[in-house]
């Protein structure tokens, strides 16, 4: 089975599925989930289209051209997920790195052997982490030289706040979170059906888009189930008829919910992995 009819959704990030004005809103929401890049874009590639040399010569390289800093970064812009992040040791290294950058007081994770000290340290950084989060110091352009790690750090930092809070609520205070989690667990069983190596999802360059696609698909669920005879062509035609006609408000709500559920699940999973690793080491 292929979902070729979603090709346009994926390529244009669902722009054609909504009326023009609403697509602006959809794009704004979607692009807000993406990490911020510090590097300015390259306005012109170095190699020029081969032209006749007499015309080309006076205007060759009018200004110093912007180049992508490294091969690594260039590869990052392609959407193939870097494998190294799946390795737990690297992940921990990144986290440690991010915390040492963000929090003002030095935390030495490797130094704190017993897990209780680790927990305390973790919680003590919440406040400083939060303050720095709002002042958004980490987007400081002085850190440009670390651009290869920027994206990693962006991910880690954007999750770290609620990650800690969830971690906190689950392990230390059991009374409040237990009720809410039991309520949620009925609706969240789809998350458990995800394959185990779900880390790749976070590294898809635009995972919110996928959830938006799911939202659109599920909006048409009832109609498609009513049809007696249905082939792929019919589905494609049906979705094509609805282009520019979806309601952004409803679908965004659905997609946001799914995205939130997923992010929280992934975060919890990663916390557990890290804790396991820590206890093993």
């Amino acid at each position: 089975m292929n979902l070729y009819f979603t090709y346009r959704w994926l390529l244009l990030e669902c722009k054609r599925e909504f009326p023009f004005k609403e697509s602006l809103r959809v794009h704004e929401v979607m692009w807000a989930t993406l990490p911020i890049e510090n590097e300015p874009p390259e306005l012109c590639e170095e190699e020029l289209i081969p032209v006749t040399p007499d015309i080309n010569s006076p205007i060759h390289c009018p200004m110093p051209l912007q180049r992508l800093p490294s091969d690594d970064n260039r590869r990052r812009t392609m959407s193939c997920p870097p494998i190294c992040v799946n390795e737990p040791s690297n992940r921990r290294k990144f986290r440690q790195y991010s915390h040492s950058v963000v929090s003002s007081n030095e935390i030495n994770l490797s130094g704190s052997r017993s897990s209780s000290i680790y927990h305390q340290d973790f919680c003590s950084t919440i406040t400083s982490d939060e303050q720095q989060f709002h002042t958004s110091i980490r987007y400081d352009h002085n850190l440009n030289s670390l651009s290869t790690k920027c994206k990693q750090r962006g991910f880690e930092n954007s999750y770290s706040l609620s990650e800690i809070s969830e971690f906190d609520s689950e392990i230390f205070s059991t009374n409040i979170s237990s009720t809410t989690s039991s309520q949620q667990s009925t609706t969240l069983d789809w998350l458990t059906r995800l394959p185990r190596d779900i880390q790749i999802w976070l590294l898809d360059d635009n995972s919110f888009l996928l959830f938006l696609c799911i939202a659109i698909l599920s909006a048409h669920r009832q109609y498609l189930f009513k049809q007696k005879t249905l082939d792929q062509q019919d589905i494609a035609v049906h979705f094509d008829q609805h282009r520019r006609r979806h309601s952004a408000e409803k679908l965004l709500t659905v997609a946001r919910n799914l995205y939130e559920q997923y992010i929280q699940f992934a975060r919890k999973q990663r916390m557990l992995d890290d804790l396991n690793l820590f206890s093993v080491s």
Binding site: Y7, E45, P195, I200, I214, Q232
Partner: protein
Amino acid sequence: MISRLKKRWKKIEHPNEKIRAIMRAIHTDVVRTDRTFEFYAASNNASNANIEALFNILVTFAVSHPSIPYCQGSRHLFDRGFRPLLRVHFVGMNEYASTLLYVMRDEALTYLSFCSIMRRIRANFSVKGIAIATKFQHLTVLLRAYDPVYWHLFETCDAGSLIISFSLFWYILFCFFF
């Protein structure tokens, strides 16, 4: 900088066959982009200034970034014969540029944002379509997890459509030759 880049292709557009080909391709796209929206709406004779700006941006980008072939989208699928299944218009970079131009209202600023956004999504426009294939795969896994029943519906559709798409293929061949 941007006006210089623009001047560069404006100067050499006439002797260079490649650039003229790019311009033709972009022109056919640009006049179709978001026509229903009044910002880009134009009567047949008078050309819209916004459409012209869009054209300039796209040509400047295509000329300045020869490693990214200008893509009207779905070309590679079209080549593989999926066109009848897709039933999409040729869509591509012009869609992104039109959104940005509407928000920025300035040719140079739009070009800057367009370069920035293309850095992120350039893989999607590559001819081989690996990035898009990965996205397809991700979406499939996600849908299968989210709603297995719904997924099953698609799967049963696919079983039938295999024959249909095959017959469509022969039908197209038939039309092509006769």
